[in-house]
């Protein structure tokens, strides 16, 4: 067995899990305010007023992690010509026919889409959320737009989140371990991110 390869540094892992926990808190409290049938979540999390108080502050912490990730991962998240070729054959990826796909770098196009979806939806959530936080000084049209944008962009993040958790835990085995302990096997790297493997190992 050859040496394992470092895929995520400690700080990357720490920030990822801060993002995950803060997102899940904001998701849970947001869902409570979204549907009466889910209002019990707010009760479980300490009651409606408590959930209402912490939702925007925890959301700011989540957005701070997004800003950190943008700064740290921007070079890795740019969509390249290789990604476009890979994207044209994405149906093979969905069907687990990975041998029919061109080799890719550190992140695949799906991961990059996830990153950008969370980032852009996060910015919309921030702006619309600020309007919902302090509604009394704003004209009615702005408040109405903020309500619709907030829920619509939240739904985008929920869709992206479902796929992200599913891919990272169930489909790409080893992915979940890599974001906890940081390491992957050379075979894993060669299978899923061959260009990255060549780049970091020099092989």
């Amino acid at each position: 067995m050859t040496d394992r390869i470092l895929r995520y540094t400690l700080i990357e892992r720490v920030v990822h899990w801060i993002a995950a926990l803060t997102y899940m808190y904001v998701l849970a409290t947001g869902l409570a305010f979204y549907a009466p049938g889910l209002y019990w979540i707010a009760t479980v999390l300490g009651g409606g007023p408590v959930s209402r108080f912490w939702h925007p502050w925890i959301a700011l912490a989540f957005l701070a992690t997004l800003a950190w990730m943008l700064r740290a991962w921007l070079p890795d998240m740019r969509i390249t010509a290789v990604d476009r070729r890979w994207g044209a054959r994405m149906e093979h990826y969905v069907r687990n026919e990975d041998e029919d796909l061109p080799p890719i770098d550190r992140f695949n196009l799906g991961q990059k889409y996830f990153f950008w979806a969370m980032l852009f939806a996060g910015v919309v959530l921030l702006i619309s959320g600020a309007a919902l936080w302090f509604p009394e000084r704003l004209p009615p049209a702005v408040r109405s737009a903020a309500i619709l944008l907030h829920v619509a962009s939240a739904l985008v993040t929920i869709g992206a989140f479902i796929i992200h958790v599913y891919m990272g835990t169930a489909v790409v085995r080893g992915g979940f371990t890599s974001i906890i302990r940081g390491e992957v096997s050379p075979a894993w790297a060669k299978t899923h991110h061959r260009l990255w493997y060549h780049r970091v190992t020099g092989k």
Binding site: A32, F33, Y34, A35, P36, G37, Y39, A42, G48, P49, S51, R52, F53, V94, R95, N96, D98, L132, P135, E136, P140, R143, S144, A145, I147, L148, V151, A152, L155, I158, G159, I162, I163, Y166, A170, V171, V172, R173, G174, S185, A187, W188, K190, T191, H192, K203
Partner: protein, 291 residues
């Protein structure tokens, strides 16, 4: 706040049935405000603060008889005073008692996400239950009349209760009791509507107010506070009374189609990934690899 014997017919943010809906015969009530006989004395404001134990507020001088620009979390009832200049150059003082309209289709209740924070009684009164309010202020967005107000200390919303604690005991609201000109009336919605129509007809036929009419806006299902206006074609002149108030379209979209689409997308996504796993399963790592 006090429910007393009133039966509830609608609850905000509530999953499941509404206790008490349809279990008792309870007449819809209404407050009738005749702006043509209001003299702007503000006795109703004082009575409101007396009965509800609200603290006194400083007034804001703006060179008119207007004492403050709008209602506040601890000032639920305010005379809106306007000097209206007619096209022929004559001046008319318009005075309108401004408070919660107690809509039959309340936008605040539709927008509220907190279970039980806003209730509508069978008699038509819409009431905030501060114990359950989470202070999100969505009711501000839902209301077409700019009525719910935020208390920054307690982070709760407040507004006129139509004195439901008095009404449930068979008394009229405090403001009605205080009015010296008799421009305020309280009774069943049916009686008040009939009285209002009679008075509007009298104004049109005998007082020269040919455009006099009743303000009971159908866009919010009618209200439990109705006005008689000298000029029903221009309600905006009475301190911004909206011509055709409605629950905002965004609130209807958000609580209607958008929510169902969202629910379908979330449940569809969860079912989708489950089916994908059952069909395709995990990806395999190729341990033996030519390089």
């Amino acid at each position: 706040m006090s429910r007393a014997t009133l039966r509830i017919q609608a609850i905000s943010g509530h999953a499941g049935t509404v206790p008490g809906a349809g279990t008792q015969r309870q007449e819809r009530v209404a407050k009738l405000i005749d702006t043509t006989t209001c003299i702007g004395c503000k006795a109703c404001e004082v009575a409101c603060m007396e009965w509800n134990d609200l603290p006194f507020r400083e007034t804001v001088f703006d060179n008119t008889y207007q004492t403050m620009p709008e209602t506040a979390w601890n000032y639920w009832n305010l005379i809106q005073f306007r000097e209206h200049v007619h096209e022929d150059g004559t001046l008319q003082w318009l005075m309108r008692k401004d408070q919660c309209m107690h809509c039959a289709d309340p936008g605040c209740l539709a927008a509220c996400p907190a279970d039980n924070a806003i209730v509508q009684y069978q008699n038509g009164i819409v009431d905030f239950q501060q114990d359950y309010c989470i202070g999100c202020q969505y009711c501000v967005t839902g209301c077409p009349f700019n009525i719910p107000k935020f208390n920054p200390q307690t982070k709760k919303m407040f507004k006129c209760t139509l004195c439901n604690d008095r009404v449930s005991q068979g008394l009229e609201p405090a403001c009605i009791k205080a009015c010296p000109t008799g421009c305020l009336h309280f009774g069943s919605k049916e009686e008040m509507t009939a009285l209002a129509e009679t008075r509007a007809l009298q104004l049109r036929e005998h007082s020269g107010y040919t455009k006099a009419g009743v303000y009971d806006p159908p866009g919010v299902g009618g209200t439990s506070v109705i006005y008689i206006l000298h000029d029903a074609t221009n309600p905006e002149a009475y301190g911004g009374l909206p011509r055709n108030p409605r629950v905002p379209l965004a609130v209807k979209l958000w609580k209607g189609p958008l929510k169902w689409l969202g629910n379908l997308a979330i449940i569809g996504g969860l079912i989708g990934v489950t089916l994908h796993y059952l069909r395709f399963g995990p990806k395999r790592v190729h341990e033996e690899d030519h390089d």
